[in-house]
Amino acid sequence: MSEPIISTAPQGAPASDLSDPVRALVAHADDNLVLAQRLGEWISRAPELEEDIALGNFALDHLGVARALYTHAGQLEREERTEDDFAMRRPEREFLNVLLVEQRNGDFAHTMVRGLLFDAYQVELWADLSGGVDSTLAGIAGRALKEARYHLLHTSSWVIRLGDGTEESHGRAQAAVDALWRYTAELFEGAASEYHDIWQKVVGETLDEAQLQIPEDPYQRSGGRRGFHSEHLGPLLAEMQWMQRSHPGLEW
């Protein structure tokens, strides 16, 4: 496969001024929070009850990881922001999540393919971070690693069932791969570049078994890690943050 072409998202300084360790924590937390919010949209709408529960559980796991990472980030930075400050009181431009997680759910095949691409990445990420010198981050990552492996077991088995299923399910799964592949190179920007090969192997083998093709088009999009997002993040944040924006400081 040819080298991916990374799109030229607007250049410039990120909107927020964070130290590198805090920035990395916030970026990973944002990935998990935004994906949790997306997965939560499935609740009461999944194709069967078991999947409703599964997607709700995925969302809870990701939300829990986000909360722990935000809390840790707040403790590391001098301002001591809380998890709610990070989640509910930052504008879109300060969110550092990858574009993949903010994409809309689409149909069930679309959500499962997005899950495969992202879960396979997170398994490598957490395995790496669980061995790091920051013991709190290592602990959070160690727990998240076990969860990510379980998520990957679920999403990869669904991608295989759908891709190697009926003409209809195959078509939908292939359309999802075609639509989402352009958001995968961004996962491996910076320190995560070292996991790209193993990720490509894991995802490639699953797609092969699922009779699905990686699209020829090498065009790749980027920008999320610098706060430049697609049109889908704004509405997601508007819904998620509405209560705190309307009634600042409101508590249950």
């Binding site: 078991e50 796991d61 829990g64 160690g142």
Partner: protein, 154 residues
């Protein structure tokens, strides 16, 4: 000169804390589950340290509240609940007694063969990888048909 200060009875605080039960599996105490990592003193304050099971387990907030309540009711006025992420919790930390309580409650425990709590058959199929709580999967016995929860190996 001797200054009389109230010395915290940590042994008693540990005993009170270890009796707090999991709100979702009330046959298990947090000591059985292995999530109570320690009870220590910070001046006049009792600090109970717990480790979350799953990242998304909603019971943690409840457990922290129950700990404050139980210790408060036992006369410990200043209580803090600390969260320790490292090392991450594992289902291997559930005590032997905890595993037996799970089994008696109708939940197949982690670690080893999954046995039907009703007919003791060792053949079961997964109905759903996600069950009534984050830590359980829903199984069905292929011998007697009984649906049951399995506390997942984690």
């Amino acid at each position: 000169m001797v200054i009389a200060i109230a010395v915290l009875d940590l042994e008693r605080a540990r005993e009170v804390a270890s009796r707090v039960v999991d709100p979702e599996i009330p046959v298990l105490t947090i000591a059985d589950l292995g999530i109570l990592r320690g009870v220590s003193a910070d001046g006049h304050r009792v600090v109970a340290t717990i480790t979350p099971t799953y990242s998304g387990c909603p019971a943690m907030l409840q457990i922290a509240a129950e700990l404050r309540f139980a210790l408060g009711a036992a006369g410990f006025e200043d209580v803090d609940v600390a969260i320790a992420h490292d090392p991450p919790w594992s289902s291997d930390w559930i005590t032997k007694e905890g595993l037996e309580k799970l089994s008696g409650f109708g939940i197949a425990p982690p670690g080893g063969e999954i046995v039907c709590p009703k007919c003791r058959s060792g053949s079961a199929r997964v109905v759903s990888r996600f069950g009534s709580t984050a830590c359980k999967a829903l199984m069905a016995c292929t011998a007697c048909g009984e649906p049951f929860d399995h506390f997942k190996d984690f």
